[in-house]
Symmetry: C2
Subunit: 685 residues, 2 copies
Amino acid sequence: MIESRRSATEPTLEPHPATTTETTTTGTGVGGSASGGPALPSPGALAALRPLGWASARLHGDGLLGRWQERNARATLPHCLDQLEAGGALGNLRIAPGSGRRHVGMVFTDSDIYKTLEALAWHLAAEPADEAASDAFETLVDAVQQAQEPDGYLNSYVQHVRPGQRWADLEEGHELYCAGHLIQAAVAAARAGVGERLLPIARRFADLLVRCFGPDGRNAVCGHPEIETALVELYRETGHRPYLTLAQRFVDLRGRGLLGEHRFGAAYFQDHRPVREAAEFTGHAVRQVYLLAGAVDVAVETGDVELLAAAERLWGSAFRTKTYITGAHGSRHRDEAVGDPYELPPDRAYAETCAAIGSFQWNWRLLLATGKHRYAEEMERALYNAIAVSTAQDGAHFFYSNPLHLRTGHDGAEEDAPSRRLPWYTCACCPPNLARLLASLHCYTATTDETGVQVHLYAAGRIDDGAHSVEVETGYPWDGGIALTVSSVAGQLGQPWTLALRIPAWCRAYTVLVDGVELAAPAVDGYVRLTRDWAGERVELRLAMPPRVLAAHPRVDAVRGCVALARGPLVYSIEQHDLPDDAVLEDVALESVVPIQVGEHGADAAIPVTLTAAGRVRRFATERLYQPLDEALDEPLDETSGGASDETSRPFALTAIPYFLWGNRNPGPMRVWIPAAPRETPTRR
Amino acid sequence: MIESRRSATEPTLEPHPATTTETTTTGTGVGGSASGGPALPSPGALAALRPLGWASARLHGDGLLGRWQERNARATLPHCLDQLEAGGALGNLRIAPGSGRRHVGMVFTDSDIYKTLEALAWHLAAEPADEAASDAFETLVDAVQQAQEPDGYLNSYVQHVRPGQRWADLEEGHELYCAGHLIQAAVAAARAGVGERLLPIARRFADLLVRCFGPDGRNAVCGHPEIETALVELYRETGHRPYLTLAQRFVDLRGRGLLGEHRFGAAYFQDHRPVREAAEFTGHAVRQVYLLAGAVDVAVETGDVELLAAAERLWGSAFRTKTYITGAHGSRHRDEAVGDPYELPPDRAYAETCAAIGSFQWNWRLLLATGKHRYAEEMERALYNAIAVSTAQDGAHFFYSNPLHLRTGHDGAEEDAPSRRLPWYTCACCPPNLARLLASLHCYTATTDETGVQVHLYAAGRIDDGAHSVEVETGYPWDGGIALTVSSVAGQLGQPWTLALRIPAWCRAYTVLVDGVELAAPAVDGYVRLTRDWAGERVELRLAMPPRVLAAHPRVDAVRGCVALARGPLVYSIEQHDLPDDAVLEDVALESVVPIQVGEHGADAAIPVTLTAAGRVRRFATERLYQPLDEALDEPLDETSGGASDETSRPFALTAIPYFLWGNRNPGPMRVWIPAAPRETPTRR
């Protein structure tokens, strides 16, 4: 609910403390950042744009993003709470010293609790009357509070399995990673005004970290980045500069071999090269994007343009050579890593949900820092595809890895490559990560700056920062029409300001109307900017949203000869469910790339828009795995088809559904990249 | 050297003991199997063909296989011996109880020693005068002997790291796997007549296994198959039936969940389904092929046609849907597994050397059991490609995994995906496995049956089983001409017999001449059969060996639009070394599939035959990773190229070298599957 307990016009930050080392002692969440959302640059930070915060944006339940947020509150959050109990994570925190009870699960189960706490905090900011959520929040805080040691230390695995061995296994132990998630939960609770206990708990731990790892402490980093962004956020929330200094230390100390060797290479824990020297987006995908989010946070708060440039350079490496068409990262199951440039196999895509969430957060930070539209583009791509696909329509089953091709005959016995979404995982990092993202999703839709408001993600909802008000009505992403009713608050009239509307890179044609009158509105740097003394005008942005046929760079060997279908921000996929009964998915080809029909309101209401094209189920003359091109063929050579005959193939209407919706009907094979049947092409010799 | 200490006409087996449980007590290697090679079915076994044994075949040093064997003796074996010391494997065996010295390396380092012992045994059979090898053999046996416990148990890891915990971790502990390799070494030593100590050592251990796991013992299996084939071989060598019974038990007990759950699924340790019920070649590739080799051994010795049929059925699954064009298996690094049907990525091919060796051994057993040529085909394919590629020309550097595409920009930091061959590995299973295979390679070239001699692998060498003699002169695989001088030994004249010559499946035209006279010699079931009263005739088999252009089944998505070049049994590859300096390997396409030129005796003598074709370095209009097919193109749509323009591309002469020789010059990118530039193809609409 948008009606918050606090006015959205309260100052959003205490005075920027970057120039002082004096400790402020808010600690109660009633500090100056109240109503802030995730990632809240200080007023003096390198920031082109300012985030709106939770109190200044809302999503309506009739839009897709709003429905996702509602499902998160109704299904995912309660499910996470159940699983924290059932899976033992909460039990781990509640082990009484000397009780003999055993810690269960991964070393980082505490972080599942912290992420759920963060999700509850964002949720309760919007819905403070949700008593069940409020009770759950307090219950979790009880467990956290009683588990904390007097000096602030808190890690159930070390406390009960390796007592006395704090920081003994920074390589694999995830102690600072867990601390980071505790801190992020506490910052969220403070900004959301939910409870008063969590921030002091987090600060006690953070203060211990400063003593252990600060300038007077040990030179060390954690095998799994996460603490960096958390400490910057805690600095932003408290104004206590040693947290920022420590985050900066962790960023700068990384890549210097402090973690030693790793069998997957030091890039596995991002210790192969200092961030500011690195040229290649590499290693464990989640660790890479988390580190880069933290590096941007440090850069903007310390005014470190070199570090910011490094993060942008690594963004280039990632998005020019190592990103799936869904926005996902991670090509390898082996080490959960991104792989070599252009190594993007659809079937063995790891594409971990948490990596997509981390990429979303990293892009958000780059967007705030630079205002460049490309970062908003990638947020949108990841959100509607790589992130959205992970959750089942019931909100209680999840993919951990998100392949772009589930093969016919897939053996789904590996836990990280199941054939369908599972309710939970041994390594349960993703579901509560989704919960905290979805609970705060409204915060990412728009920003402000001195010129006005920028809308980056289109969703039915309302933006109101106390000076500017934008009511958004849209069926996006199902259709490209967006209506915005734009007002200034009383007292602000007579002061023109600029509404900036992002024109997505996928969009080749659009029109803009204000109160029914079409304007010439060229997009500059990705945004149409309309400056008015806004007083309730209705802006209509109509984004042409025809189906698109996409090809990959030819160096992406794994999808040679294939195309992907897309419409708006949504990548599409074909699923066994929609094929003729006797067709093997891998034998299906796209007969022609034109026309692609848009089928709205299909038989299945859960899939609002399908795409239909001329498909073909191909039949091959041989079952042999390898064969001479010029042998056993009934017709002329055809490299595209791999040389096999398809004379017995048959046409059919091939239906594609949004990738994020696959696997919600009969489970079965699926693919995003569809072989294109050969067609007449000019000779080049 | 072929001159052995024992006549090749000695009886090759003691009376078949399959009908008795009485224990024979040869134990000295002077038993009836003397001169036998790897896998020696008992006279009463289900066996269409009989192996020749080491004393009845030799390879000449002027042929490729002979050179490999010579290199193995001269370089690889001494290198393995050095590494057993340097890497600590031998030190592990020599740890004195209570000395406090630590076991180093993997839990199965003992097996590296056993495989090296087996290699030394085969080598010493042929070269008994090699004193260094003989001394090394005795030194290793000393270490093994002193490490064995009084009751026969032997495993340095358990003895020193987990004392008192025998068989406590059958899932991962590799105790029976190590025992299997000890037994195989002992059987080799016995057959080779090398030393007399090893077989009693192995039998003491095997007898302990019978007590622990036999019909009166525990129902259990080892996480890593290997013991099965070893026990059958020990039974064959000793006639002691309890070994066979135990092997049968291990095969039958597998697949019943005795090993419990595994995070990669129970198929990881082949415990998902009993072999005789399994339909899918799956799980960890090495474990799968080792298990199937053992299953065939059990089947042929027990007359179990159902089990043999299961092995043949799984062969179909493997070779119709899960085998690389190099004969390799294993598509996944994650769990070293074979993957789903048609999941055969060239760049992330795991293609472990040991899996190819295991496949070679499995196919050998199926060939002996059935006489079907397809098994000899796959032995040849694996040998010249998947196995041969693993060893550097110096014989002292090795690949563990054998990719079919090393990408531009490959990060070779992962130990199992290095950018070049390494001298040794933390998991060092492959190099000594190569050593034992190469040392016994001559044993696999031919077989006998009641009709005469069958030649399966063509290599300069001599076959002489005491009744039939075939001298083979050939430059195979560099050329397809094979001259065989065929004789009967004195006293056998006047008794016609059949020389069967395998016509490789890749060969579409051949001629056969006997003393210069061409014969009509149709191949029946893959073999040309010539029956004569052989008396020194010269048979010439001329296999036409033009370059071949191969395509994969269209379901192999990873190589769509690509072709592979081959000639004879050799798969070819293109390497950065042969490209224009500024060309990126992934931008190279094959301009035309005809003509392919054969370049013999090129500039590099180490690469006797190259292939040259019209290539093209393609230039693309955009660096974007994904793009609309109908946008940003300068010329008509072209699905094969992924839609990018190549108007600025330039032609060049593309040179391909045998895949097994790649990585021996300047290290750099390589690929087997080459994109085929688009050409005129008929429309199908």
